[in-house]
């Protein structure tokens, strides 16, 4: 009303609710790091080979693919949606991009990456349009897309496959190259994670994704273009899964129609273990990337300890359940604590 109001804007006191939420979220991230450290210590105590440079490099390089796809999945999950089609997108992109070397000899590698990206974007566009414009729940759309894309993949691949010796060495080396002992792919993905984290933290459209996820009705009344944001999240998820497909090709070299089957479950496990709320509205890409790192470390640890790789799937499902149960507990405690505070402060 008047410009001369003497009341200063209330400064955020240390015990304000906002600070408490921040603290809990940070504790969540440190929690993953703690579990990660614990795993590394125990495994190393039993089998010192685990901490060899080559093994650490391998863990980082394999994590790169999972972390990259998990970033896209995080964008989608933050908006209270889910993308179950990423495994099929990775598989299709891996075949189409690697097959470029067979179809066009001497094709430059950046073009192959662009092809993978294009495949992913195309898939993301279809999913995004049906979800955002058609108002079909993302669970239904992406469950259907999982099978549709895989079906197309199987039709395209036919009885053939891409074999390692049809790929140029420079392409295969992408997975193995290191700078100062750190795999190139891990550095590249770390840059993507950093950019995505910066975008989600500071850009208006990034914050809007959180608003949509925490309360879609309020977001709509607040004038946020929900359909456009959700559409964008799905396109990004598709795009990163498409790039992930090219990474898949550099890592596995032999690609048939079953490549990356079931990968979506690992990705969702990584995202949820990394502290992204499956209800939407909360979580970070850094957490999701750490979740991916944790799952890959556990895989490697089981491997080193001689536990059959058969257990991997069961363990990632179990961790997913533990993570959502813990998060639910934290969420309820936090809500109760905030309510008490509000009563206390009379706000």
């Amino acid at each position: 009303m008047s410009a001369t109001t003497t009341e200063a804007p209330p400064t955020i006191a240390p015990e304000s609710p906002r600070r408490l939420v921040d603290l809990v979220l940070r504790a969540r991230t440190f929690g993953i790091l703690g579990v990660l450290l614990l795993f590394v210590l125990i495994t190393t105590a039993i089998q010192p080979r685990f901490l060899h440079a080559a093994n650490i490099q391998f863990i980082l390089a394999t994590t790169a693919l999972y972390a990259l796809v998990a970033v896209g999945e995080t964008f989608v999950v933050i908006t209270r949606n889910v993308d179950l089609s990423v495994g099929s997108v990775v598989g299709l992109s891996a075949y189409v991009s690697a097959n470029m070397f067979q179809a066009h000899h001497g094709i430059p590698i950046p073009v192959v990456f662009l092809v993978g990206l294009g495949v992913g974007v195309a898939c993301g566009l279809v999913t995004g349009i049906i979800t955002a414009v058609g108002r079909v729940p993302s669970l239904v759309v992406t469950l259907a897309m999982l099978y549709i894309i895989r079906g197309f993949d199987t039709i395209i691949v036919g009885s053939g496959q891409v074999v390692a010796n049809s790929l140029p060495n420079s392409f295969i080396n992408i997975f193995h190259a290191t700078i100062l002992g750190i795999p190139d792919v891990a550095i590249a993905v770390a840059v993507v994670v950093a950019i995505a984290a910066f975008y989600l933290r500071t850009y208006r459209s990034g914050r809007e994704l959180y608003a949509i996820g925490s309360d879609p009705d309020a977001a709509r009344l607040g004038g946020i273009p929900i359909a456009r944001r959700i559409f964008g999240a799905f396109v990004l998820s598709g795009a990163l899964a498409g790039l992930g497909g090219v990474l898949w090709a550099t890592q596995y070299n032999t690609i048939d129609a079953t490549a990356a089957t079931g990968l979506e479950l690992q990705i969702i496990a990584a995202v949820v273990v990394g502290g992204v709320a499956i209800f939407g509205g909360s979580g970070s890409v850094v957490g999701a990337a750490l979740g991916a790192l944790l799952l890959q470390t556990i895989n490697s640890a089981l491997n080193v300890l001689g536990v059959a790789s058969l257990w991997t799937e069961a363990i990632s499902g179990f961790l997913l359940l533990v993570a959502i149960t813990l998060d639910r507990g934290i969420q309820l405690r936090l809500a109760a604590a905030l309510r008490r505070r509000r009563v206390h402060l009379g706000a």
Partner: protein
Amino acid sequence: MAPESRTLKERLAPLMHWDTGLAVALVAVAIFGSSVSSQFFSSYNIFTLCTNIGDLAIMALPMTLIIITGEIDLSVASILAVSAETLGALWTHHWPLALIFVVCLAIGALAGFINGVLITRVGLPSLAVTIGTLTLYRGLANVILGASTVSNFPSPFNNLGVTGFLGISWLSWSVAIFLVLAVITGVVLRRTPFGRSLFAIGLSQEAAFHAGMRVKRTKLLLFVLSGVVAAAVGLLYAFELSSAGENIGIGFELQVITIVLLGGVSIFGGKGTILGVALAAFVYAGLRSALLLTSSFNENDFEVVSGGLLILSVLIPNAASFVQRARALMRRGQMRDRRKLLALADAEVLDRE
């Protein structure tokens, strides 16, 4: 003119019902099938079609009840696998079959109970929980038998996949079982307080709770039921295949959910009929069989069709309700501005969710 056209419209209204559409689709599929190949209505082809769809249709029944209450169970195919692989493992250890059945059904009940407890008591979303248990149970199933396959089941059971129900050569056991269970489920859903309460829960959990319904207990019960049924189908399916091995029933959850949603059950809860689901199962099976009879189609192509059907079964009612609301708004003359009109109709569709 106007009133007359309205009565005509009213007379046509029942024809616009989803179930009626499915019945028409079923006839269309039958005509399509018989035009594709004279083999379509052969007793052998109908039997194959029945064995393929029966197992999925049985699992679709508890799934229908769960989706009506607004939840979902993605773990059914993994529970099926755990049951089938347990059957294989215990049979190789020479357990008596009766005991194996009890153990497998108990495992199914436990698996469903874990889902139900996490969803109703811990308060987690069923989507997240059953994605987790989909992975967990499938992982455990893989551990039970490893890469080995068990196939030496005893004779009356081993023939389930090749002999008809009570000597009827075209009717498979699975479809016979499905028809009986469908009638029971349909009656329970329509005619009992328990069945009606599922719709109330799906429409508004809170209202149902305040009306004195035991929302959590009901949902828990449904997830246990779903687990038991999936485990039973696991036994049936292993006998039909005469084998239990790696990756058994993988991806069945998609087909089950496709049948349920194609049957007119709303993914948002509170709406659906068993008749619709049963019709949808046969439309789905008939279409699959007819397409596979054409030389240019194989299983993988049908995967694409199946996914497309799933999307369409939600997209069509959504589009229909959008058009309906837009026209209602236009008739009321509230909105002259086209863009505003679309936005408002859109918002009303959103509110329904």
